[in-house]
Symmetry: D2
Subunit: 301 residues, 4 copies
């Protein structure tokens, strides 16, 4: 099992390999690189319990899209990124026409690096009420509802409890849950999106939700959309030392130190805003057929 | 039945009397004035179907507290107002020690006069998770959860649907629902709070919720806490004319005119902020025994 | 002189004509209708003191653009509106290449109908520091700075005093001042923009600034960009009555009534958001040559 | 000269001593500990150029108040902290009755750890306009104005340029400038306030202002009020290692590493909110005689 904390399967795979040595084979796991709309995509499949044990993550598919160009504000970077996310998301979804979807934004909007979930929900095309009330105009849309699940301290309810209540009441065919993650790599923070069909695991992410959100707890498939927005302080210390060629240290040696700190990119507010928008648009493109980015601009405004 | 729109039972009673003539007796309704902590309190009881028909409101108790001093920022006005609301609220609640309560803030936080519900929820002492997780410190508190129910256009779900989902999941003994109302009197706007044990009626309020929130729909008692923050435009026109001695006109004659307008006091943002705070504190004092305003200051900060 | 309050020259002209009778000629004023990018444009020129006296406004040019399609969210409505504003604005500006401009957003961001100035400033391409610091990349841009002038109660300084301080310090060639206005017509509220080369007059607008902002007070030309977001209550009452065919009343008869009220469209928050964006983009297109709407999207994000 | 970055004179003194060895005497610097209202106060006086050289800071007085109890929410912690700040602040101010003061909040409100300046300005009692307009009621107050100086990227103007413009226009007797700082100690972040009569030095703080704000640049005395809300990443790495007993490393060895990162306490949003409020109240108590905390509560609401 890994001693260093990461919510990204692609990092867990690298860490395992670093620890096991390059010649040892990681069994029960497949990884594959590809390119989509100009962005690098890595797909890690954890196939069985041996893979799950090795990486400390449930069996399932984990897709990482690296959105570097987005941050450099290259032309067309935004629509390409939204389309890339939409295409990868569609590969994880198993929806029939008209199946309803709930988009759940996890995390605390008031804390910048934890606010990506609620902010992505702001860019979701919410159609459930329109499909019902104005079918002549919106009948061709998939019914989508959205929920910023709030924060335990201000609601008294776990996010998972609230989402579970809404799922039981409104019976969507699938939940998309957007959340902030922790990464071990400074390089990935604020520029990577991980899609996974395994749902949200308790204790991961920035806000440390306590309840798993997955098919077992909610009764419907849960696609997790995660963005690393923080690194932990011990990981940072080791990386800085290593970069400086001073010592190759295991962060476990610093266990507990700096656990009340968060480390974010200086530009975290811009990054979270940009990524929330591209995720919201990616969700919209994946869920509603026949729309392009300009249509969503118009429908959201 | 009344032709003019008001969400306040005290106004409905006056309107009925104006229309019926002073000598006619309104049957099935009792009204009584009193003073609490220096504020005028009017209690209207609709006793039976004849009263309900006459006033166009369900059988039940409607208490109006007029908080004029609050706006003049008299000394002690705030704690007196919070205590007055708490005392009247306790008279409507029928809770045993340890019974859980859900506070639901209705309305759209982004539209000033409709934001009083979500803002009042911000001042609610949320304790449900603490009672459970830190019983040694919070065991003596009543478990309270809070929900800003969001807006149909951004969630795809009716507020009532979301609250109903949460009630089914978390089983509180009672719901307190805070909402913005319409008044027919310029004088009452932004300075009056109505408490009622009849819940929320569809189509009333500023945001025009479609689903009733009451014991029938939620399965538990619902106390409505309403604040008039708007007057309708037709009512305003008639009142202005009448004040100017020009014409005593029935607003029904202007029916439909100005229905896309809202009329609010110039100071609506300050008023809504002040009233949301006093309502939140009033709820806290009513639900948690042994606290005073200074304790809540400390616990909320 | 007009007895009814309006900040729009086009309305003042109509009111004068209504009061004077159709056959009387308004001297010292020229009005002309045209169409720009599909939007109706009315240009009123107050030519001399007789015109200024009659309409109660300074000598100068007042251009009204009616942006109805924008609110109906017609396709291309936004870029057409931004280009229309930019073209009319360029007609009022007398700038040489490289002349610096200060964009001043007047009003209180926290009060929805008064927030259009600060919000429009958010959409201004601010380039002054870039032209100076990164000339190799931004040397071709006009230096533009922006200022949300805040509110007397939170700064202790008049907006005009702050703007005047900045003008003296940074010496722009021109000031563009964006502000909320009052209209007498429900129809124009939230869908009209008035451009004028006369600056801002004390006591007009929603927030009632006390200091004139014009060439006399600032030492440089001031272009005012105003949007009616409120009507006054007395005007509303008279209009509603008149629509209902009940009475053709002069609002002066209701003078003083409802002066602590504001009347806004129910959708004022959306309208103010949309108009602030189109004004910001219009300013950007007018000030920076060679850009289109898509460029501004990219530069602002 | 120190190689490690700190904006706190008290830390610079400690660092110098660590580097020079305990037996070496730091000349030109006096340091003294005391207690005020239960909080630890350290006063460092840099007396001459030799002291200034050694610590890399201008000649002047630097007072550090450690507000640990505030974060533990001890009873009376808030009013004691506000009074302690006020008392120390009064010691640095040299004001005659009626002298005007400008409070300048530096930094970017949208970035949590950089937002303390603008947020402290929100708690300033702004009286300048009231003293002038309502002298019968406010004539006994000192005229105070406030300015959240905004951010270069959104205004095109350096904070210092804007403040300088306002100072020239309104001629206050003194400027109080509130800003976020960087600390080298995790322990001080979010719980310490430094008051200094030397103004703001370019390149210090979180936001890295380019222009000095002091008597030389503004023409009036500038009291800086700084709060460390971040540590730099290299400092953090060294501290974590040192705590873990692994290595006593000079952060200079990591120079440049992690410079695009910010490290903040997990609770930075609460801490910044609490400290902004206590600083605002401290300023109010220092500037207006005869007020207590409850008066300010009432006047600010």
């Amino acid at each position: 099992m890994l001693k260093r904390r990461t919510d990204l399967a692609v990092e867990a795979t690298q860490l395992w390999q670093e620890q096991a040595g390059e010649t040892t084979q990681l069994r029960g796991v497949q990884a594959r690189d590809s390119v989509r709309e100009g962005y690098k995509v890595t797909t890690v499949r954890i196939l069985d319990e041996s893979g799950a044990q090795a990486l400390g993550k449930p069996v399932g598919t984990y897709i990482t899209v690296e959105l570097d160009g987005l941050l450099r504000r290259e032309e067309d970077a935004f629509p390409r990124a939204a389309r890339a996310l939409a295409a990868e998301l569609r590969g994880l979804l198993d929806l029939k026409e008209g199946d309803a979807v709930l988009v759940a934004g996890l995390g605390n909007r008031a804390i910048t690096p934890d606010g990506i979930g609620p902010k992505a929900a702001d860019y979701t095309l919410v159609t459930r009420h329109l499909v019902e009330q104005v079918p002549e105009q919106f009948g061709a849309f998939r019914p989508v509802s959205a929920l910023a699940a709030g924060v335990l301290g201000t609601t008294g309810m776990e996010s998972g409890e609230l989402i579970s209540a809404v799922v039981e009441k409104t019976r969507p065919a699938c939940v998309l849950a957007v959340d902030a993650l922790a990464s071990r790599s400074l390089r990935r923070v604020g520029r990577t999106v991980q899609l996974s069909d395994t749902g949200i695991v308790p204790g991961s992410g920035v806000g440390n939700h306590r309840m798993a959100l997955n098919r077992e707890t909610l009764g419907v498939p849960v696609i997790a959309i995660g963005v690393p927005t923080v690194v932990d302080a011990a990981t940072l210390a080791c990386d800085l030392l290593s970069e400086a060629g001073r010592e190759d240290l295991d962060p476990a040696a610093l266990s507990g130190a700096g656990e009340n700190l968060i480390v974010t990119p200086r530009e975290v507010d811009t990054q979270v805003g940009d990524l929330a928008k591209v995720i919201g648009y990616g969700i919209d493109l994946a869920l509603q057929s026949g729309l392009d980015v300009a249509d969503i601009d118009l429908l959201l405004s």
